[in-house]
């Protein structure tokens, strides 16, 4: 069997047969509808593209902000730690002073 099917028409096709399908009004209507759909699709794609762009810009802005804060922490972080160490050491000194005081005060009681 071949890939094609050959059929032989006994009579010539009558030209009036095509008239049933001849309607330019419908063709024009379908064309206008398809053009309208195309336009809507174009606008939708543009809207999505703008939305994605805005999202990217917002995300970049946030990331920049976060990385900026982290940078500041890195810069000032040691200072705070130093001050914290200082505070701890001073409190230790205070404690030891207290201890000294209390130690000095205790014998006087007895």
């Amino acid at each position: 069997m071949g890939r094609n099917e050959i059929r032989l028409r006994r009579k010539r096709t009558i030209s009036s047969g095509a008239d049933r399908y001849r309607n330019y009004g419908t063709i024009l209507e379908r064309h206008e509808r398809e053009q309208r759909l195309k336009k809507i699709l174009k606008v939708f794609v543009m809207f999505i593209a703008v939305l994605i762009l805005i999202m990217i810009i917002t995300m970049l802005g946030r990331w920049e902000k976060r990385s900026g804060n982290a940078g500041a922490d890195l810069i000032f972080g040691t200072g705070t730690q130093q001050s914290r160490t200082l505070m701890v050491s001073s409190s230790n000194t205070a404690l030891s002073c207290d201890a000294v005081v209390s130690f000095q005060q205790r014998p006087s009681k007895y």
């Binding site: 071949g2 890939r3 094609n4 099917e5 330019y24 063709i27 379908r30 064309h31 206008e32």
Partner: protein, 186 residues
């Protein structure tokens, strides 16, 4: 087709690019030809009507892309119609139908009423079934649509020499088995 006619058609096309209603003249002119071209490849009037409508909708949708390349506007229509038929067969995965009119086939084959019997018809159908689709397409355009090789090449997206070669080979095969009236005039 005369140069004057081609120029007139191009004017209508340019007008249609701005106002699609102007295309109505060309639609009326070519509707029958495109319809029967599709009918010959589908053998189904309703389907041919649908594919023909789709062809003209596609033509209107892409009219702004049309450029005159030395072949008549009708060749562009045939090309779009041919693509539409191909798309239909690809989608439905069926065998491609070539529905030929017996009176036209009789004209092409040098067989009188006496020589044209059922046996010969059967033999011809069996023989043509074995021809590749590409050859049948070329034969159809050349001898049923009366297209020249330049147009055939444009419609089927092949070179002009390729179209000539296919026609020559198909006719050579047919000549060996049948009494052919048609000549290869490449």
């Amino acid at each position: 087709m005369s140069e004057d006619e081609i120029r007139q058609e191009i004017e209508i096309i340019n007008r249609s690019k701005r106002d699609p209603r102007a295309f109505g003249v060309l639609y009326e002119k070519y509707f029958d030809r495109i319809y029967y071209f599709i009918l010959r490849q589908t053998d189904d009037e309703a389907l041919a009507g649908d594919l023909c409508s789709q062809t003209f909708v596609n033509v209107l949708n892409h009219l702004h892309q049309f450029e005159f390349r030395g072949v008549p506007f009708s060749a562009w229509l045939y090309k779009i119609a041919s693509n539409e038929v191909r798309k239909h067969y690809r989608k439905n995965k069926g065998k491609k139908i070539f529905s030929l009119e017996e009176p036209r086939v009789k004209e092409l084959f040098d067989q009188g009423n006496d020589g044209w019997d059922e046996e010969l018809v059967e033999k011809l159908i069996v023989f043509m079934n074995d021809l590749p689709t590409e050859m049948l397409e070329v034969l159809e355009l050349r001898f049923f649509e009366n297209k020249d090789f330049k147009e055939i090449a444009y419609i089927l997206d092949i070179t002009e020499s390729g179209a000539k070669m296919r026609t020559y080979r198909a006719l050579d095969k047919l000549r060996k088995n049948f009494n052919l009236k048609i000549k290869y005039d490449g």
